[in-house]
């Protein structure tokens, strides 16, 4: 007498291809996935709770650690939300520098995605090239603010420092050579037969499902939805740059791959345009109640010292109200919803995490497919558990 039953297996949380501490319980019928149940929260640090007990400036260091592969983007989304609450305009130079940082960060984040996604499904080589270029970007960040991973470079009202000497030339050199590097990666993958077999027609997310599941970023654009917040609701001066939004047709892993590859080229293009047209002038808004005085003044001027002390110890008090702002982070729509009760700390700081919501689409993409595809699909969603779990 034969007996058939499904098999439950556990994938993760310590599994290299789940990109962190994601645990999946897979119900298998032979090699076919019948049901996938993700278990998340292993990296939960209570960021939203912590934020309620910190001043607005202090929260900047918390948001760095959400999507730890895109610290600059997290900074940007957060400061834009607070600036909206304060109804504050930042100088054009600061806006452009923010765009440069956010786009370099997008390239760096996509490079990690490319390397690890390839590595997961058998393409070892791209990882080495991707890390080489990512390191150049991290060196640029280090030049600007001394940190590579968690920059905390953006400030409410502007930036922590102006660009150092030599940055513009180095960044320009990078974005000039970078498109040829992307072409190199593409020679390894785009027409590679194994790559195509592992990604084409795998993990299909239809247009309707992508919208209904709230997917964003390259995941929704791979499913033929032309929606990018940089275009639909330009922030920080994105309307001044000329770039295109790549979209896919089939919503499979291969299309998401193509979308991200093109996005890297477009990001390099945006950085190039921003460097060419970088305005001169101030990097901080004239808002003495919010923006820290220059460091030299703090050392030499009594009033500035008091002022510095006040802002650091007490912070500032925005008007009571609530705002929601979102940006196009490398992973998708990264939003911050801030409820202010008029005190120096946010009453509620809600993070709309793109990785979390994109991961929700996983079961739609893999159920009924082979178990080997699960790994390809996780890679193609590009999650960061720091952001999923917060």
């Amino acid at each position: 007498m034969t007996r058939t039953e499904t098999l439950m297996i556990n994938m993760g949380p310590q599994h290299p291809s789940t990109h962190g501490v994601l645990r999946l319980v897979l119900e298998l019928d032979g090699e076919v996935v019948v049901k996938v149940t993700p278990h998340i929260g292993y990296l939960h640090r209570g960021v939203e709770k912590l934020a309620e007990n910190k001043t607005y400036h202090q929260c900047i260091t918390l948001v760095d650690r959400l999507d730890y592969l895109a610290g600059m983007s997290n900074n940007l989304a957060y400061v834009l939300a607070v600036e909206k609450l304060l109804d504050m305009e930042v100088p054009k130079r600061a806006q452009y520098i923010r765009v440069i940082m956010a786009e370099l960060q997008r390239i760096a984040s996509h490079l990690i995605w490319l390397g690890t996604h390839g590595h997961d499904i058998g393409a070892m080589t791209p990882l080495f090239y991707a890390l080489r270029e990512r390191d150049e970007i991290l060196f640029l960040f280090e030049m600007v603010c001394g940190a590579r991973l968690t920059p905390s470079y953006l400030r409410i009202g502007g930036l922590a420092f102006d660009l150092p000497d030599g940055f513009e030339a180095k960044a320009m050199e990078f974005v000039r050579t970078f498109p040829s590097r992307v072409a190199e990666y593409e020679t390894l993958l785009t027409k590679n037969r194994i790559w195509i077999q592992r990604t084409k027609g795998v993990g299909i997310l239809s247009r309707e499902d992508a919208i209904n599941l709230g997917a964003s970023g390259p995941v929704i654009r791979g499913s033929d939805v032309n929606w990018d917040i940089r275009k639909s609701t330009p922030y920080s001066g994105y309307q001044n740059f000329d770039f295109i939004i790549p979209t896919g047709k089939n919503g499979d892993c291969y299309d998401r791959y193509l979308v991200r590859m093109e996005e890297m080229r477009q990001s390099a293009e945006i950085v190039k345009q921003a460097l060419e047209t970088l305005p001169k002038g101030e990097i901080n808004a004239h808002e003495p109640k919010v923006v820290l005085p220059p460091k030299e003044d703090v050392y030499t001027n009594m009033a500035s010292l008091i002022h510095h002390f006040k802002i650091v110890s007490e912070g500032f008090t925005p008007p009571a109200g609530e705002v929601y702002t979102s940006i196009e982070s490398p992973k998708g729509e990264l939003g911050f919803y801030i409820v202010s009760d008029g005190t120096n700390k946010p009453y509620r700081l809600r993070i709309r995490p793109p990785s979390f919501i994109n991961l929700e689409a996983l079961s739609t993409m893999v159920e009924g497919r082979l178990i080997a595809d699960v790994i390809a699909v996780i890679g193609s969603i590009d999650i960061v558990l720091g952001e999923v779990d917060r």
Binding site: G41, K49, N212, L213, W227, Y337
Partner: protein, 153 residues
């Protein structure tokens, strides 16, 4: 955004008794609605041809400990077609912490409602799989509530 806004007009026409308040702040429109009517409102804004809020950006909860109704569930809606955003808030009293699930309208709501349940203990009627999501199943208490201590119990 102003009072002539089509979303405001349509919702007021369609649900005259359910819309408690409409407010505007920093170019954002916020609707305060009765929690009993959240599901018909969600269905309407999602499927109405003019509004077509097909994308649920976010769903979260806020705890206003010192007032009643104590909680608010906040829905951030987006229409990809019209490139418009709207915020709907439903107050939840502390003596009946339950609201209808909107999973049947936007599948996104599944995990987001689970997170609200996990962090605030709000129940969602009609949710297909309401259990904790970030914390372990045996966790006691709801950490994002304002009366939950910062450093744990």
């Amino acid at each position: 955004m102003n009072k002539e806004d089509i979303t405001v007009k349509k919702l007021r026409d369609q649900f005259p008794d359910s819309i408690l308040d409409v407010s505007f702040f920093r170019d954002e429109t916020t609707f305060l609605v009765k929690k009993e009517d959240i599901l018909p409102i969600a269905r309407f804004v999602h499927s109405d041809a003019d509004l077509s809020y097909d994308f649920l950006s976010d769903l979260c909860c806020v705890d206003y400990l010192k007032r009643e109704p104590r909680f608010e569930i906040v829905y951030h809606l987006y229409s990809i077609k019209n490139n418009k955003r709207a915020r709907i808030k439903a107050p939840i009293p502390s003596n009946h912490q339950v609201i209808s699930s909107v999973c049947s309208v936007w599948k996104t709501a599944n995990w987001l409602e689970r997170e609200c349940y996990d962090m605030y203990g709000i129940g969602f009627e009609g949710h297909p799989d309401l259990r904790r999501i970030l914390l372990t199943d045996d966790w006691e208490g709801y950490p994002l509530r304002k009366d939950y201590p910062l450093k744990g119990k």
